[in-house]
């Protein structure tokens, strides 16, 4: 109620400023999602989902929108309308995912799509021009709504992005997007948008013809910049709405030569067929048949173009229903929810904001952490022991920023200004001001101990000491600390600027405020964060280790690395298992395998770690040394097998067991060990929630997103199936495949689910 009153007041106060004939609608007081006021002969429709930072298309919003539009169409006084959000930073973020998840049947979903189609069709045919005034995210259903309007004006703000990300949720734009987008921006561009789900910035959108006008965001004036920018956007939109109603402005856009040529080419059936074929081929290659949505999108677009709109719309709604019902879509939507969860700080706000950060070690990790920190405005010290190491690290940060300049995501001026947040040094100068120190030195306990003691001598009392380690238990590192409550683990993933996950590890002694602070820094760095308990390998490394052990076993059994890679990628892993070892570093893998092998014994057995030892001794450390399972050369994309590996593999060769060595068995041997260990982590309390387990596995380790993570996978494919598999392999190999108790419990009572 409060919000509505405010809204009333806002319209009221603006009344005197811009127009005289403001008419309040009596219905204003009963609507919660949409309001409108009239300025002159232009209706200004404001979208404002209650109790949320973003607007989402829910059933309530749909029905209120229909009501409002009907009033506008019926009114004699109104000649045009402007559609705008009351929320800064968000036009409409998309359809309400919960609304889709709540649907039990395909028909229900299809019906939702058809309703939305009907509303938007009416909007598209509106006799009175409607201008969408876009500030902030305009995604999914939001964009479909916007492109149904007669005109679009967007703020040229970084926050203003347009896109149809449905494919990332395993669905398709189900409110006419598949039909309208190709007409608006051309088939190739539309397919690109729909198949990648990419966000398009306002200036690019203008070039593509997705929006008609841009409005520059304003600086400080007589009101806060954001507020005034919204007002200005509205004022500009109103002038355009009037212009459209008076026919002084044409909603038609002048197309460029290239665009005209493309459009012409697409009128030739043969060209169209070639385009479909090409795109389909590419999609098949990239999805490996694991994701049904992209192919259906192409299919629906094709139907619309080849058989006409009616068939297109029908196909869109039906395929939308089918897709939303798929396991893949459920898995991806689950991940979306998990991601939202992992973008929150469950420990609340820390007592003191971290403003000065110090990073020890300018290696790949240290410099990566520095890069994601400086560009968020954190004053960062990067300290290394040697000048060459430091140089390399600083160069890495600069290159990371400069690549963004090349992609026009930053200006060269912004790059320089961001880079000035970084101080590279060899000593501990300035550490007395640090609020947090993240160490990213080599994975060696005694070294970490030495560093911790050195640092504690120079940092202030409130300063947090975070260790970036992938396997050393944090409590062991903290053992030499004078203030173990300030010690925490922050496990980043390489390359830090690309990998979204941050695994935060708390020990028994870590204080709540320390955790809050670490999560706050991670969120600032743009990470999705899982918080796990301390233990050997924490969560992510611990899940990966048994799978890696199996990788070695499989290689020992004579499967060559290329074949193994293709088996894992075709299961949905983004990187093949052998390539992954090369990327992580064979020495690191060896380290982890030895450490964890000691602790977990038989359960991490299977493969012979001798393979890794021999590789390390020959200098085959993976990509960083130029040789691992493959040979890596600067500037050469093709990867050749490292033939020197043959003798090592031959010396450790084991006979394969034919009953468990089919391609599918190999895939499942890998993935079931992963899943079993993940569930064990939950069972042992390392993980607090299954959602964090899924997010960690997918975003940190590349667990197939189409399966939604180990826990979602168990839920969707049945615990019994997985336990059966494990038992089969257990019979062949032994204890490393014994299903853990929690997994067995789930298999025994089919009602038990990780996600209720």
């Amino acid at each position: 109620m409060k919000e509505k009153d405010l809204e009333n007041e806002r319209i009221g106060t603006e009344k005197g400023y811009i127009c005289r004939n403001f008419t309040g609608s009596s219905a204003l007081l009963t609507r919660t999602h949409i309001n409108y006021g009239v300025k002159g002969d232009v209706a200004v429709v404001r979208i404002n989902s209650p109790n949320s930072k973003v607007n989402t298309l829910s059933k309530e919003l749909h029905s209120e929108f229909t009501e409002v539009m009907n009033e506008i169409w019926a009114s004699d006084q109104i000649r045009s309308a402007v559609l705008i959000s009351s929320k800064p930073g968000c036009f409409i973020a998309g359809a309400d995912i919960n609304m889709l998840s709540a649907c039990k049947t395909l028909q229900e979903v299809t019906q939702l799509s058809q309703e939305a189609q009907r509303i938007l069709e009416k909007l598209e045919k509106s006799p009175k021009p409607v201008v969408a005034a876009i500030n902030g995210s305009c995604l999914g259903g939001g964009l479909e709504l916007a492109i149904s309007c007669q005109y679009r004006i967007a703020t040229k703000d970084r926050k203003t992005v347009l896109g149809v990300p449905e494919v990332l949720l395993g669905a398709l734009p189900g409110a006419g997007g598949t039909q309208r987008l190709p007409k608006m921006v051309g088939v190739p561009a539309a397919l690109d948008m729909m198949l990648t789900g990419r966000n398009i910035r306002a200036d690019r959108a203008k070039k593509m013809g997705l929006v008609d006008q841009l409005v520059e965001p304003l600086g400080p004036g007589l009101k806060p910049p954001e507020e005034r920018t919204m007002e200005y956007l509205e004022e500009v939109a109103i002038t355009f709405a009037k212009g459209l109603a008076d026919k002084k402005i044409s909603p038609k856009r002048n197309k460029g030569l290239v665009e005209k040529l493309t459009a012409y080419a697409m009128t030739i059936p043969f060209v169209r067929q070639q385009v479909y074929k090409k795109v389909e081929e590419k999609v098949r290659k990239q999805t490996k048949g694991l994701y049904p949505a992209p192919l259906k999108i192409i299919d629906v677009v094709k139907t619309g173009i080849e058989q006409g709109s009616d068939a297109g719309y029908l196909s869109e709604s039906q395929k939308f229903g089918e897709l939303v019902m798929t396991k893949e879509s459920k898995a991806l939507m689950g991940l979306y929810h998990g991601q939202v969860l992992c973008k929150k700080n469950k420990f609340g706000a820390p007592q003191k904001d971290v403003k000065h950060l110090a990073i020890l070690g300018a290696g790949l990790m240290g410099a990566g952490i520095a890069q994601v920190s400086v560009d968020k405005g954190l004053k960062t010290i990067l300290k290394d022991a040697t000048l060459t190491g430091l140089d390399r690290g600083q160069q890495q940060v600069f290159k990371g920023l400069n690549d963004k300049v090349k992609k026009k995501a930053l200006t060269s001026f912004e790059r320089d200004s961001i880079f000035s947040n970084l101080t590279g040094q060899l000593d501990y100068q300035g550490f007395e001001k640090a609020d947090m120190v993240i160490e990213a030195v080599f994975e060696d306990l005694s070294l970490k101990h030495r560093v911790l003691k050195e640092v504690e001598a120079v940092i202030p009392d409130h300063c947090i000491f975070a260790s970036n380690t992938s396997a050393l238990p944090i409590s062991e590192i903290a053992a030499v600390s004078k203030r173990p409550e300030k010690v925490i683990g922050m496990h980043y993933f390489s390359p830090v600027d690309k990998m979204q996950l941050l695994e935060i590890i708390t020990t028994e002694k870590t204080s709540r405020d320390t955790s809050a602070s670490a999560v706050a820094v991670g969120l600032k760095q743009g990470k999705v964060i899982i918080v796990v308990k301390d233990g050997p390998g924490f969560y992510t490394t611990r899940c990966l280790a048994p799978m890696m052990s199996e990788v070695i076993r499989i290689l020992q059994e004579g499967v060559d690395p290329k074949k193994l890679d293709s088996l894992t990628t075709s299961f949905g892993f983004p990187v093949g298992a052998a390539t992954l070892v090369d990327e992580v570093g064979v020495d690191v893998a060896k380290h982890v395998a030895e450490d964890l092998g000691k602790v977990f014994g038989e359960r991490f057995g299977g493969g012979n770690p001798e393979l890794l030892t021999q590789m390390v001794s020959k200098g085959f450390l993976g990509r960083k040394s130029g040789k691992g399972f493959y040979i890596y050369q600067e500037g050469v994309k093709r990867k050749d097998l490292n033939s020197d590996m043959d003798s090592i593999l031959a010396s450790l060769k084991l006979p394969p067991k034919s009953e468990v060595s089919s391609d599918e068995d190999i895939q499942f041997r890998l993935v079931t060990r992963f899943v079993n260990e993940a569930v064990m982590c939950l069972q042992e309390g390392i993980l607090a929630t299954p959602a964090e387990g899924d997010i960690g596995a997918v975003f940190g380790l590349g667990f197939p997103p189409c399966l939604g993570g180990p826990f979602r996978f168990v839920d969707l494919y049945g615990a019994q199936t997985i336990v059966d598999r494990l038992k089969k392999y257990e019979a062949a190999y032994g204890k490393q495949f014994t299903p853990c108790q929690l997994l067995a419990d789930h298999a025994n009572s089919p009602n038990k689910k990780f996600y209720q």
């Binding site: 304003l218 600086g219 400080p220 004036g221 007589l222 005034r228 200005y232 355009f240 200006t411 001026f413």
Partner: protein, 464 residues
């Protein structure tokens, strides 16, 4: 000396607000003189007529224009060339052949070749910087007599080869063998020939000035009509001043091979109807800044003779004004690029111990109507003062009847490097003509750093 200087302020109301407040210091207060700091005076200042670029000055080089201003100054003041200690000029877009344009112009204008000269640049307040540098040199006792000025020739700008082409040409210079030369030449691509133009844009944001002004006007909700009205005022007042012969700082310039130019040619009072027809120049199609309400590209030069007061008196001059406090401020180059006057005004007034009410002549640089009006709105806003300036109350509006009464940059023109001296001379001449006491000069500049000079004028020398 002090008594001579302070006694003639007969016009001063004895019970004015500040006089009461500063009763104890009345004596120094009246002159704004500071103990132990030399008084700096403007003996006189001149400028060439300001012309639309591409008109009569189009075949000249910048130092030709600067020379015209300097000879004009010599002629007007009859200052013996050997007494000039130093010459400083401001300029923005440099002609690379005459990068120290001050020196080239001074040599040609007949100043002594023993007088050092340097050139300064600070966007639209380059001449202000030349003057305040001079003030500093005099106040610190380094010099007694300074010539300060500025020049800009927008008719010709240095259009360069692209960086790639330049690199190729430089490498060719260094190539030793035919083989090396050929291999370099083989790297040539047609796009190397695309020229690089200097833009009136911020380097840090790549935003052009007009674009920024349009956004600023929008941020302060300044309407198109308001902007056109203000521009019309500027042109009308300039026309009037020109017709009445008030623009006495203008010296005629006999352009080589052409007719003698005697007056500014950008003053064109139009009608609001005519102005309303123009399309927006920067933010198309809905912006509010147009060609009619912006300052235009201008060619022109100005020069001014500044001296230590005792030197001027000893030489028998009757100076036109004191140059008192000045202040440079700077702020965000993106969103507050053109708000300098708002920030600087209260600070410099405070420094001088004055209030808005004390000022008799305001001379603000008019880059755009929208920029002046946005500054007015900012100065009149408590909210802005609280949230962006750290002040409890608003700065307050300068009264329009005291504001740019003889026209401004919108109508007279704005040769970037030369405008500062024009502003100061306009303030000085207005005070003498109108019998005022204090003048305030303010300008905005690229990089977000405006300047401000307060001139306290001593009417005793004006003979009135």
């Amino acid at each position: 000396m002090t008594t001579i200087l302070t006694c003639p302020f007969k016009k001063l109301p004895t019970t004015s607000k500040w006089a009461l407040r500063f009763a104890v210091q009345t004596k120094t207060k009246k002159t704004l003189a500071k103990p132990n700091i030399r008084n700096v005076v403007v003996v006189d200042g001149v400028r060439t007529p300001f012309l639309l670029s591409g008109t009569s000055y189009k075949d000249l080089m910048p130092h030709d224009l600067a020379r015209a201003a300097l000879t004009g100054l010599l002629h007007r003041t009859s200052v013996p060339k050997e007494v000039v200690d130093y010459i400083i000029f401001g300029t923005v877009i440099q002609e690379v052949k005459t990068s120290n344009v001050a020196r080239e112009a001074a040599l040609g204008a007949g100043f002594s070749d023993k007088t050092p000269a340097h050139t300064v640049t600070m966007a639209c307040i380059s001449a202000n910087q030349a003057m305040t540098t001079g003030v500093g040199l005099i106040a610190s006792g380094q010099c007694d007599v300074i010539v300060a000025g500025g020049v800009e020739l927008m008719s010709d700008i240095p259009i360069r080869h692209s960086r790639k082409m330049r690199k190729l040409m430089l490498d060719l210079n260094k190539a030793k063998s035919m083989g090396q030369r050929l291999s370099l030449i083989s790297k040539f691509r047609l796009n190397f020939l695309a020229p690089e133009l200097p833009a009136v844009a911020e380097f840090s944001t790549s935003e052009t000035m007009g674009h920024s002004a349009d956004r600023l006007a929008a941020a302060f909700a300044v309407s198109r009509l308001e902007q056109d009205e203000y521009a019309l005022r500027s042109h009308s007042l300039a026309k009037k001043a020109q017709d009445e012969g008030l623009l006495s700082d203008v010296v005629p310039f006999r352009v080589p091979g052409k007719d003698t130019v005697t007056k500014d040619n950008g003053i064109r009072p139009s009608s609001l109807e005519q102005m309303a027809k123009l399309k927006p120049a920067f933010i198309k199609p809905y912006g509010t800044v147009t060609a009619a309400n912006s300052s235009f590209l201008t060619d022109g030069a100005s020069a001014m003779l500044i001296m230590a007061e005792e030197k001027a008196l000893a030489m028998g001059y009757k100076p036109k004004a004191y140059l008192r406090d000045f202040m440079y401020v700077s702020q965000d180059p993106k969103d507050q690029l053109l708000l300098g006057p708002t920030y600087a005004t209260p600070k410099v007034l405070e420094k001088a111990g004055l209030t808005m009410n004390d000022i008799d002549a305001f001379e603000f640089h008019e880059a755009f109507s929208g920029q002046i009006l946005a500054n007015f709105k900012a100065m009149d806003s408590d909210w802005f003062a609280e949230n962006y300036m750290g002040r409890k109350t608003k700065v307050g509006l300068p009264p329009l009847e005291k504001f740019n009464n003889w026209g401004g940059s919108l109508s007279l023109g704005h040769p970037f490097g030369a405008t500062g001296c024009r502003l100061v001379m306009a303030a000085a001449n207005r005070l003498r003509k109108e019998g005022g006491q204090y003048g305030l000069v303010a300008a905005c500049a690229a990089g977000g750093q405006p300047s401000m000079v307060v001139c306290a004028y001593n009417s005793s020398y004006s003979g009135g």
